[in-house]
């Protein structure tokens, strides 16, 4: 017999925490039976027994071993069940898969992280990795947007981030309320006038397709180089190893060659934002 691990077999994992982030988004904390380590930006497949699996990029700090957090919006049959999970429930995890953010390439540079809505989830993991290695970079910037203040993820943690000296942070909502002190407008309206050198900087974008599209356009307009703009491509990843064919993007499979791509790699393929 060939000694190859079965790539389709999930590892049993227990739910040890459920946090309601917004009316439609929850963060679940899972403890896999066998340790799974991941690099920020890589994704896993979460199995709900009897229902199926779906891909998620962990939102937790990669350095936090043994525990993984997934921030999940209820949109489909698997995510609907994720929202019904409670402590002690059993799920399955496969992965990690793909290539995450090439952090080593960011050394000595200014990094701008741009997030939109549920795109904050993978970026939370990224931010903690960047904070853990903060001394390696010149300066960190975070620009985030969502529809309303109620839909802002990780409010408490973000308040703590705002106190960090190594981070310049600004948030925006499409529609404010009486308590909102930040900017009002789509996220692209807070990408101007950042105190960084766009031409040598790194930009990382994650959010809903339309936000990714317009943010990328804006970043290129203000001077970022195509190869320095990193995108998390949301495709229908299933097997995770480039066999099942569902997530093909031009000559790549998002599951094994991505899901993080620099813009220059994918710009010529059709319908990349869909």
């Amino acid at each position: 017999m060939y000694k190859i691990k079965n790539p389709y077999r999930p590892i049993r994992a227990e739910i040890t925490g459920v946090i309601s982030e917004t009316p439609t988004i929850k963060t679940i904390r899972i403890v896999p039976e066998e340790p799974i380590t991941f690099e920020t930006g890589q994704f896993i497949e979460l199995t709900i027994p009897g229902i199926g699996e779906a891909p998620f990029t962990p939102s937790s700090r990669p350095a936090m071993k043994g525990i993984m957090e997934l921030t999940v919006m209820s949109v489909g049959k698997v995510t609907k069940k994720v929202h019904e999970l409670k402590n002690g429930d059993i799920v399955g995890v496969r992965g990690p898969f793909g290539k995450g953010y090439p952090i080593d390439r960011f050394k000595g540079k200014e990094i701008l992280v741009v997030g939109g809505g549920c795109g904050f989830a993978p970026l939370r993991s990224l931010m903690y990795e960047l904070f853990d290695r903060s001394g390696e970079f010149k300066k960190l910037f975070f620009r985030g947007g969502c529809k309303t203040p109620q839909e802002l993820l990780y409010r408490g943690e973000i308040a703590d981030w705002a106190k960090r000296k190594d981070l310049d942070i600004k948030l925006s909502v499409d529609k404010g309320d009486s308590g909102w002190k930040g900017n009002v407008g789509v996220v692209t309206t807070i990408l101007d006038g950042i105190d960084m050198d766009y031409e040598s900087g790194i930009a990382i974008v994650c959010g809903p397709p339309v936000m990714m599209k317009f943010s990328t356009k804006k970043l290129l307009d203000i001077g970022f180089k195509e190869e320095n703009v990193y995108l998390s491509m949301e495709k229908n990843m299933s097997c995770g190893i480039g066999k099942c064919g569902h997530c093909r993007l031009g000559i790549y499979y998002a599951c094994k060659d991505g899901p993080v791509f620099s813009y220059d790699k994918v710009k010529d393929f059709s319908n990349i934002w869909e």
Binding site: R12, R248, G250
Partner: protein, 341 residues
């Protein structure tokens, strides 16, 4: 090269039974189908043309359990390895594509590899062509030149035997008492036959104006925005038969059994022509229109595979032409892409 009388070939198969599960083509009506070999019955056809069904199903099953109850072992059966008899050159090319996908490229698929590694491929020359055959356009000859263990060329009732692998060589040595030295007249008979079938396929290619693969470079990129796609997809009923019947199509769906007390994951063949193939849970779909999915099917075969593996993922077997209820014809689409764009 050697020679084997049909009576001795039957003996060879009898001997192979102890080591292999043998499958062999039989004729039913105008078609050939694979069935398990038990006795050498009259309906067995070693030559002629490819079988109705694609032979990928022996190694990449249409439906199989790939994970159960979180257990780490790879489900396997105690079944003997397959010996596939009479495999034609087009299906050998199909295996080459699947070997690339499941065995040789990046990650390996243990299910495919376990089925494929101990098998025995006894291929055979085509001794006739049907009107959908166009292998030569893809530089595939109607007789095997590679990827077999031994190849049979039917000469009268008997066969010329060519060894194509160390495994094939060992087999011929082990059963040397069943083989004869080849006579020159049989070789010239084989060459005549090969020439006859080659001419028949060339005639198909000429009559249907099928372009040669040398002219395929860049056709997808050039024809990307062409209205050929909407035009050709017009009658498509989205049945996915073209994918299922194709010896190179490898896409699959991981599907979990609907029982919340037991985890069982199945892998079933999937079809990129179906609307939700690439759709994500949030609703975004990169190919919402049928014509986009038809274009994607051609892009995968004639652009993706040529760029990543330096091979076109089409064997010229013509199965998709016969299978399509809407009569969508790969020969015509290739012609339009090469000559009309």
């Amino acid at each position: 090269m050697q020679y084997i009388f049909s009576s001795n070939f039957t003996k060879l198969l009898e001997n192979l039974k102890s080591d292999y599960e043998i499958y062999i083509p039989v004729k039913k009506g105008e078609q050939r189908f694979y069935k398990k070999y038990i006795d050498f019955t009259d309906d067995i056809v070693i030559g002629e043309v490819r079988a109705f069904e694609p032979l990928k199903s022996f190694f990449f099953r249409a439906r199989e359990i790939v994970a159960e109850n979180f257990k780490s072992d790879i489900p396997h059966t105690s079944q003997k390895p397959y010996c596939i008899v009479g495999m034609k050159a087009c299906d050998l090319k199909g295996l080459k594509i699947h070997d690339y996908v499941f065995k040789n490229h990046d990650f390996q698929d243990p299910f495919y590899i376990n089925r494929r590694k101990d098998n025995l491929i006894i291929s055979a020359d085509c001794t006739s062509a049907i009107d959908t055959c166009f292998c030569l356009a893809l530089n595939v000859k109607p007789y095997p030149l590679e990827n077999f263990d031994i190849n049979l060329s039917e000469v009268g009732e008997d066969f010329i035997v060519e060894v194509g692998s160390p495994k094939g060589k060992r087999l011929v040595e082990k059963y040397s008492f069943l083989f004869e030295e080849i006579k020159d007249k049989f070789l010239s008979q084989r060459n005549e036959q090969r020439e006859k079938v080659t001419k028949a396929v060339e005639k198909n290619i000429k009559e249907n104006k099928i372009p040669q693969q040398d002219s395929f470079k860049g056709i997808i990129e050039r024809g990307y925005e062409s209205d050929i796609w909407a035009d050709e997809a017009d009658k498509c009923v989205e049945c996915g038969a073209c994918n299922t019947i194709c010896p190179t199509c490898h896409c699959f769906l991981l599907y979990d059994q609907k029982d919340e007390n037991r985890m069982a994951r199945l892998r079933i063949w999937d079809s990129c022509m179906i609307k939700d193939f690439a759709q994500v849970a949030g609703g975004a779909n990169p190919r919402p229109e049928l014509w986009m999915r038809l274009r994607n099917r051609f892009e995968k075969k004639f652009d993706f595979f040529s760029k990543v593996a330096n091979i076109y993922a089409c064997t010229g077997c013509g199965r998709c032409i016969s299978a399509c209820p809407a009569k969508i014809d790969i020969r015509k689409i290739l012609n339009r892409l090469v000559y009309d764009v």
